[in-house]
């Protein structure tokens, strides 16, 4: 059993988790509470710049993240990040500013403060799989996710570029599968685990997104998955919210619920549907969970 | 001339001399080590410890420049040291064993070659000796015919008085000149008694007899047993008030540098090491023999003096406990 609060993190939810992905935020907080992991939201955090900022103005995108990192530094513990895009931006900032003295000086000038960049930024996955550890995670399971076949979807930002995020092997990551196996689920091998969902084009080129996301869902279905699991609100948006639309375009039927990692792990940890925001999912997961006797 | 001076006035005297631009050299502590060194204030002077190096340094520096060179293109420019720039010095608080060594050194430095470096410094220095009140079992001035109140070598000699202050006795014109220049600080002797002086324990050697033995025993197994354990450092000679060997080296680069004179010691393996690689004194016993011979025979042969004043420094500091007093004592018995 995890001893009381030996793990403590500052927490950067990011904009999505305060908007469209409220259930990710909720389930994260509840899960961490259940696992006795301390989580303190960074006061006054603001947008990391997400996918657009760095396409427009590099200095701006770096400064946004640098400022957030500085704020996070005020709170004890490594910084826990839920959104893969926020994670990518924060890590990229650390990387770029660490490599380039010039950019670092520019940002310092912009923020009018010296930078501290050595704080650790961690995705929730890392916290669960490594800091807490698979063993302790397994011990905390109250309701193993027996019989649930999950297609773990990494998307493109979590592991790439390798030397920036350093999360797992860039070509054959296993961290999601490791976590899910620890809580008793079955993970399916499938081909589109790391294909891009088109997050950048969600609003500008929906056609592209539909094509890309369609292939992902198709592949998950083909591999025999019951559901898909993600660790990013943007991926979630494309796979879950757009699923109906895609089914329409390709005239097919997937009905693949798309969970956040915290929802599935939370479920295994014995949290109720209300605490996990399962009702907020568009593709209704309840029939599946009932069928598998998980609720 | 006989005078008295209080401790306070002595201090005033020294401080005044310093202000006048004279170099006042006296025992003081340097990073914990008692040494004769220039004072910046009379307060630095210590009286209770025998300095680890002797007073000879005031005339015969550990290291001194004698010339410098500089190459300009194909030209070489030599600059001699101007002894006129040597500072006026007052050497204060010199123990009798150290003071007595000064006239001994005079002999060798003004013999066939007049060493202007030594002599100029000597001329510019007034020696203020002070009687010894304590001695340890390494002291043996009495054995070589001196004593804790011996005034040899001093221009002015001080003896501590009971209740503080000193009895002053001039030994030379320099001593008188020193008193005269600051008369107000001295008073007439007031009948205070001097404190009891030290009494070294060694018996007087029969130096004649010792020399005689040395005259006849250049080769003798005794040398081996005396000095096999000598490790060949120069500590004994470097702390000795009477040793005066030196070595001349050029230091610097192709472009510029100095010719310098450094202390040398007969214990060093390089002492008398010929360029050919041959060394007539090719072992510590032979080198140590030279030390004893020089002190108790050669110098006597040449200048009628003994090259040892019994300060006992080499005995205290020899890394391997070679004890010159014991050695001479044993020779004395032979």
């Amino acid at each position: 059993m995890p001893t009381k609060n030996d793990l403590n993190y500052s927490y950067y939810p990011g904009c999505s988790l305060h908007a469209s992905a409220g259930e990710y935020d909720l389930s994260t907080r509840e899960l961490f509470k259940a696992l006795s992991i301390g989580l303190t939201e960074v006061p006054d955090w603001f947008c990391c710049g997400a996918t657009p900022a760095h396409n427009v103005d590099e200095l701006l995108s770096l400064s946004l993240c640098a400022k957030n990192l500085e704020l996070a530094d005020q709170v004890e513990g490594d910084l826990a990040v839920a959104c893969a895009a926020c994670f990518s931006r924060l890590k990229t900032t650390q990387h770029v500013l660490g490599e380039s003295d010039l950019k670092r000086k520019q940002v310092e000038k912009a923020l009018d403060a010296p930078l501290k960049l050595d704080g650790k930024v961690k995705h929730l996955l890392e916290i669960l799989a490594r800091d807490l550890g698979l063993e302790r995670l397994a011990q905390s399971v109250k309701k193993p996710l027996k019989g649930l076949k999950v297609a773990c979807y990494y998307g493109c930002l979590l592991t790439r570029p390798n030397d920036v995020t350093n999360l797992d092997c860039v070509e054959a990551p296993t961290i999601m599968e490791d976590v899910l196996k620890a809580v008793g689920a079955e993970t399916v091998p499938w081909t589109h685990r790391m294909e891009c969902c088109g997050a950048n084009f969600t609003l500008s080129r929906p056609g592209v997104v539909i094509q890309l996301t369609g292939a992902i869902l198709e592949s998950a279905k083909e591999a025999g998955a019951d559901c898909v699991m993600v660790a990013c609100p943007l991926c979630h948006g494309n796979l879950d919210i757009r699923q109906k639309e895609i089914e329409g375009v390709y005239n097919t039927h997937y009905a693949l619920p798309v969970f956040y990692i915290t929802q599935l792990v939370g479920l295994a940890a014995g949290l109720g549907a209300d605490k996990l925001g399962l009702d907020a999912l568009i593709v209704n997961p309840l029939p599946l969970l009932k069928e598998k006797k998980l609720i | 001339m006989q005078k008295h001076i209080t401790q306070q006035n002595l201090n005033t005297l020294l401080d005044t001399l310093i202000k006048e631009g004279k170099r006042v050299v006296a025992p003081r502590l340097n990073a914990g080590t008692p040494l004769y060194e220039p004072l910046t204030s009379s307060a630095e002077m210590i009286t209770d410890q025998l300095p680890k190096r002797s007073g000879k340094e005031a005339f015969f520096p550990l290291c001194e420049d004698i010339m410098s060179y500089e190459k300009e293109g194909q030209q070489i420019k030599l600059t001699d040291i101007d002894p006129a720039r040597f500072p006026e010095t007052v050497l204060v608080g010199v123990r009798p064993c150290d003071a007595a060594a000064i006239p001994v050194l005079d002999a060798v430095f003004s013999w066939d070659y007049k060493d202007e470096f030594f002599l100029e410094r000597r001329n510019k220095t007034t020696v203020v000796g002070v009687a010894c009140t304590t001695a340890d079992d390494a002291c043996f001035c009495t054995a070589v015919g001196l004593s804790p109140s011996d005034t040899k070598g001093s221009d002015l000699f001080l003896t501590p008085l009971e209740g503080g202050g000193y009895h002053c006795e001039t030994q030379s014109e320099k001593g008188e000149a020193l008193i005269n220049s600051h008369q107000e600080l001295f008073s007439e002797p007031n009948g205070s008694k001097t404190v009891p002086l030290a009494r070294p324990q060694t018996e007087k050697f029969d130096l004649e007899k010792v020399k005689k033995w040395l005259d006849e025993h250049f080769e003798d197994p005794a040398w081996d047993s005396i000095a096999t354990r000598c490790v060949g450092c120069g500590a004994c000679a470097f702390v000795c008030p009477a040793c005066h060997c030196f070595d001349i080296v050029d230091e610097g680069t192709e472009k510029s540098g100095k010719r310098r004179k450094n202390w040398d010691a007969c214990g060093f393996w390089k002492f008398t090491h010929h360029a050919s690689g041959h060394n007539p004194r090719d072992g510590q016993p032979k080198r140590y023999r030279n030390r004893i011979m020089h002190k108790f025979k050669y110098y006597d042969d040449k200048f009628g003096q003994t090259l040892c004043t019994g300060c006992g420094r080499c005995i205290r500091l020899c890394p391997v406990g070679i004890d010159i007093a014991q050695i001479v004592e044993e020779l004395n018995k032979k």
Partner: protein, 665 residues
């Protein structure tokens, strides 16, 4: 007093543009010991060298400083010139005022002052230079060749034909290397075995070549001209002298289904085997791991059936020592394995290409075996998974190569060409098939190479897609290959029956261990390093050791053979001499002050320091001192920096010389 001559080079304008050479010459002339100083347009040119020689004689110069380019460039040139003028070459030094001065500073004033100082420093140094006599060592007129691929074979034959004895050591049971595995070879499409096997036979029949197959190098001692090499002859379990190569044993061996490495595990072999029918020597070897006799003590069939009684289960490894004067390293290459984490890479293999788990994703060498008439399929292109003929085949180039994240940033050089060859072979054998090639660039610099490549497209109808494959995955019995065509800017997906990966050419596993035994250097990939990329491409920095073939870097056969012959020529040059001269930059011990602490011996990586007893005329031991074997000393000077009493000095870099330079600054 030295009479130093200083020659300042303009290097055309390379130096004089930023360095006021006349001023340098004038300044330097004032330095003590400098008797002559001048500047000249091109010192390295013939007239320049003549000026140098003439002035040495006219001015009776004793030491020379040439201020010009880097000594790495022309030190030899000027030392030779100086020697021709009658001075010892080591009395000449170069001051680098080009690479270290005129080229890196713009300010003329600054550069000029710096040049004056650099030259001044070298003037002081050269004053302390001593005449260094050339060192001679005797030469053992035999050569050792390590590795019996085409490189080793070619070198062995060339040297042996010249009349010198050759020892050829091959790790595998047969010589031949990778070339023996190839089907046909670009750019001419000759059958590889047709041109290879006669050479292999020449080796075994050559009276001057002693072949140790199934053997490895255990230990290398000695130095140029005088190596002692210990060779481990691994226990073959078959006595070579008795075996006639009839092959009955192999027929009778009950174990049959051991994947044959030679066939890239496509075909099977028995426990007693020769790797391929044309093997040289044609003597089988028992694979003790799989032999029943060795596993259980039973069986022994082969021994029973062997007429000449050549099978010997008791055989043990034996060690042989051979004395040689030169060594050629020709250990070749290995292919990159997509399942393994490459050296120095944070990334494990090519996970996106199925981690080597999809049976119909094969590498180029496997394709060679499929295409080879003597291969496991008799030359038919068939899928390993189900033996069907692939109708759509995708070749992907640059697998591992030129991928910095994989720890390999070099180009493997042969893949473009062999992939083109593969498309042709495929098209010749599967007429209705379609070949696609994903490629980054086509690198075809070689005689008739680009023509060959074009033929693949123009005549053999291969479709070349410029772009990389992002992933491939198995879908039913197809392999979906997803990639981009960057020429057109579209994503492509091909459902292929078979995929061939042109995996990177890498050094042999453990190449660095052999290098360490030999004392030669290797690059960060473990390819062996040549002494100079352009001018000494077949020599190692370690004297007497030469390189041939793919162990030095990726190479195709023409290049391999050229280098092998070049290495052979170098060896022959060396062996043509009875005695050898070497640069006298070696350490020397001053016996009079050495105290025999042997700190020098402990730090010498070459093992050049020996213990030497000094005795008086009666033979009594006076002391033991260090002695540096000038033949072995590499000339690093580590011993000197380590010796407390400085009793060992590196000629050419003595303390006096270095201190003179420091003091000049």
């Amino acid at each position: 007093m030295s009479r130093i001559g200083v020659f300042i080079c303009h290097c055309g304008e390379n130096i004089s543009r930023t360095v006021d050479v006349e001023r340098v010459a004038a300044q330097v002339a004032k330095l003590p010991g400098v008797a002559f100083s001048t500047d000249y347009k091109y010192m390295c040119s013939d007239p320049g060298q003549n000026l140098l020689k003439k002035t040495i004689q006219e001015q009776k110069l004793s030491h020379i400083v040439v201020a010009a380019c880097s000594p790495r460039m022309h030190e030899k040139t000027f030392r030779k010139a100086v020697e021709a003028a009658g001075l010892n070459p080591f009395l000449c030094e170069m001051a680098n005022i080009r690479e270290h001065c005129s080229w890196v500073h713009e300010d003329k004033q600054e550069a000029t002052l710096k040049a004056i100082e650099i030259v001044g420093m070298m003037v002081e140094r050269v004053k302390k230079n001593r005449v260094l006599p050339t060192i001679t060592v005797p030469v053992t007129k035999r050569a050792l060749i390590i590795g019996g691929g085409i490189a080793g074979i070619q070198a062995a034959l060339d040297i042996a034909d010249c009349g010198h004895e050759v020892i050829l050591v091959e790790r595998e049971p047969s010589i031949g290397g990778h070339m023996a595995q190839l089907s046909e070879t670009f750019p001419t499409l000759d059958c590889s075995q047709c041109i290879m096997t006669p050479k292999m036979v020449d080796v075994i029949n050559h009276p001057k070549i002693k072949l140790y197959s199934y053997s490895e190098i255990e230990l290398v001692e000695g130095y140029i001209g005088n190596f002692q090499v210990t060779i481990r002859r691994k226990a073959r379990s078959v006595i070579e002298d008795k075996c006639t190569g009839c092959g009955v044993c192999m027929e009778k061996c009950p174990v049959k289904k051991i994947p044959n490495k030679f066939d890239c595990n496509l075909g099977m072999r028995p426990a007693i085997y020769v790797p391929f029918p044309q093997a040289v020597p044609n003597t089988p070897v028992i694979d003790r791991e799989n032999c029943i006799k060795f596993k259980t003590g039973k069986c022994g069939l082969c021994q029973k059936v062997c007429g000449p009684g050549a099978v010997d289960y008791e055989q043990e490894d034996t060690l042989i020592v051979e004395a040689v004067g030169a060594i050629v390293v020709a250990t070749g290459f290995d292919l990159y394995n997509i399942t393994e984490k490459p050296k120095g890479s944070p990334i494990k293999g090519y996970g996106e290409f199925g981690h080597g788990k999809i049976p119909d994703v094969i590498d180029g060498m496997t394709f060679e075996r499929l295409a080879s008439a003597s291969g496991p399929t008799g030359g038919k292109i068939l899928r390993p998974s189900d033996g069907k003929e692939p109708k759509q085949i995708v070749f992907i180039q640059c697998i591992g190569s030129r991928a910095r994240e994989k720890g390999i940033s070099y180009c493997s050089k042969v893949c473009c060409m062999y992939t083109a060859k593969h498309t042709m072979l495929y098209h010749h054998k599967v007429h209705d098939g379609q070949a696609y090639v994903f490629f980054m660039d086509a690198r075809t610099p070689g005689k008739s190479y680009d023509e060959f490549w074009r033929r693949s497209i123009e005549e053999e109808e291969a479709v070349y897609i410029r772009g990389m494959v992002s992933r491939l995955y198995q879908k039913g019995d197809k392999i979906v290959v997803m990639g981009s065509d960057i020429a057109v800017g579209v994503q492509v997906e091909i459902e292929a029956d078979m995929v061939v990966l042109a995996t990177a050419v890498q050094p042999q596993k453990g190449a660095e261990l052999l290098a360490q035994k030999l004392g030669i250097s290797y690059d960060k990939y473990n390819f062996y390093s040549e002494a100079h990329a352009k001018l000494r491409p077949v020599e190692c920095a370690t004297a007497g050791i030469y390189l041939a073939g793919a162990c030095q870097g990726p190479k195709d056969i023409p290049e391999t053979v050229s280098q092998a012959s070049a290495a052979a020529a170098k060896v022959m040059t060396l062996l043509s001499k009875d005695k050898l001269e070497r640069e006298p930059i070696v350490a020397r011990v001053k016996e009079s002050t050495c105290v025999g602490c042997f700190a020098c011996k402990k730090v010498c990586a070459y093992g050049a320091v020996e213990e030497k007893e000094i005795r008086d005329r009666q033979g009594n031991l006076i002391k033991v001192v260090a002695y540096v074997n000038p033949g072995v000393c590499g000339g690093c000077g580590t011993c000197q920096a380590t010796c407390p009493s400085k009793s060992v000095e590196l000629d050419g870099y003595t303390d006096e010389q270095i201190v003179a330079m420091i003091e000049a600054l």
